[in-house]
């Protein structure tokens, strides 16, 4: 596992600059928030995600994640239709803190255009981006 200053940046995923990860699974993608995002938000208390069938658009908000002290939009890393949602995170939002890349996933999306992945970062680029975020900080 690649770590940048203690933040996990797993290989084999795509990353958006809105702190989300994308995992390609055949003709679908699985989406969640990054370790960096959950650590910034701290104890997550509420997750609002759309129901299955909803259309989402790359770079546009589709939901909300709220912690004790902060709130952040969930911004779609890719356009498409929501195929499946992780119902468990709605009753157990702490899963986003505990396992953001695993049980804390949010949506499975059927992308309308896989080419949009080109607008995202690969893991190596994401590592550099995380470093730049921390340097600015």
């Amino acid at each position: 596992m690649v770590k940048v200053n203690g933040y996990d940046v797993p290989e084999g995923l795509y990353y958006s600059k809105d702190y989300e990860w994308v995992k390609v699974e055949g003709d679908k993608v699985r989406v969640g928030i990054t370790d960096f995002a959950q650590k910034q938000l701290r104890e997550i208390v509420y997750v609002e995600i759309p129901s299955a069938g909803t259309a989402v658009k790359q770079n546009e908000p589709y939901g909300t994640v709220e912690s004790v002290k902060s709130v952040s939009d969930l911004v779609a890393p890719i356009s498409g239709a929501v195929e499946q949602i992780n119902e468990e995170v709605q009753s157990k939002p702490e899963l986003l803190n505990e396992a953001p890349f695993n049980n804390g996933w949010l949506l499975v999306i059927k992308p309308t255009n896989m080419d949009e992945l080109k607008n995202l970062m690969n893991a190596a680029q994401a590592v550099e981006w995380h470093k730049s975020l921390l340097k600015e900080g």
């Binding site: 910034q40 909300t64 709220e66 709130v71 975020l133 600015e136 900080g137």
Partner: protein, 447 residues
Amino acid sequence: MPRRIVIVGAHAAGVDAAAAARKTDRTAEITLISKERRIGYSRCGIPFVFGGHIPRFDDLIVYPPTYYKMMKLNLKLETTVTSINKDAKTIGTVDKAGNTEILPYDSLILATGASPFVPPIKGREKQGVFVVRTLEDGEQIDAAIKTAKNAVVIGAGLIGLEVAIAFVERGLQTTVVELLPQTLPAMLDEDMAKIVQTKLEEKGLRVIVGSGVSEILGGEKVTGVVVGEEQIPADIVVVATGIRVNNQLTQEAGIALGETKGIKTNMRMETNVKDIYAAGDCAESMNLVTHRPLLCQLGTIAVRHAKVAGTNAAGGYAVYPGCLGSSVSRLFDLEIGATGLTEFMANKSGIPTLVGTISSKTKAEYYPGALSIKVKLIFDKESELLIGGQVVGGEEVTQRINSLSFAIQKQMTLRELVKADTAYAPPLNETWEPMVLAAETALRRIR
């Protein structure tokens, strides 16, 4: 057009107000303005860095810069607000390069805080005389500790004592000087403060009460202080004699101050000027017991003010009912806490009191390691309502103070407290909870 929310100040109150505003309005343009370079840090933690309990000053930064980015909060750092125009709904700012700017707002939140008050003691401008407020203050004092042998702290309030204890922990010969006849005069009654003073002295801190520092001695650099007839050597002098509200911006804008000189607000934390809110050390609270204005300059109060001010400034609805001034600390290994009124304050407010005090243990009598704990409860003699509590002892003080605070807020009476249901196990408590026993001693006085 998105709502423009401008917040002046970016520590406990400012940042928490921004968070509450963002939670209420997801599209608002929120701007935080601070004179300081580093923001969002805990001032309360500074003495514990001196003492080595927290490794670095930067560890006190609760909100890292990435937080503001994720929350889409605009920052203007090292920038001073110079004016408020309530009619045009704009503020004027100047940054450290001297650039001025006029910023429009729909809602303005003043979280301007307070500044240390240094009494006009002769010699107070000498090198080595410090106040404790900012990280920079902390870093300067920390650097001075490294070469110092003797320290004097003026003021035996919580900050003064926390700093003095840190000095002792760092090996400095330390004296704390308090003008009033007891330590912690705003928090404890004299009988409870005596226990604290004895404990402090046992640990090697010299405590002088009932005397002021009449002069700070030295050339360019401090060498000592004069207390009464005595000269006490000092390489460091820390003045911790309280803070005064930063209310410089208010007069011109027509923002009313209350009788405490804090900014007056309604329950929504709105000032007398529409769409201008105040939160934190600069804002008055209402005392829940006396229903009189109170300046309650604590971190706990700042974040509560801020949540309400931020929510309302962003178009939501929230109210702040008032406070009891509940506070706790740990002085060496002695935990202390208080909530509501002291007996002294109650009598000063004209409330006839009924008092119950008990000395007990923090574990079963026979359990090894049981520590002494003393609980004092103050009741309104007429209504028999609990109006104050103080706890001095080895452990579990914070949650006892919280319980007493809840009891006061829920208007619990003496007779209800005597019959209160509590928990016990030998390693954790006595079968009779000391708070209940203290109530019983009060009841015995009127039976």
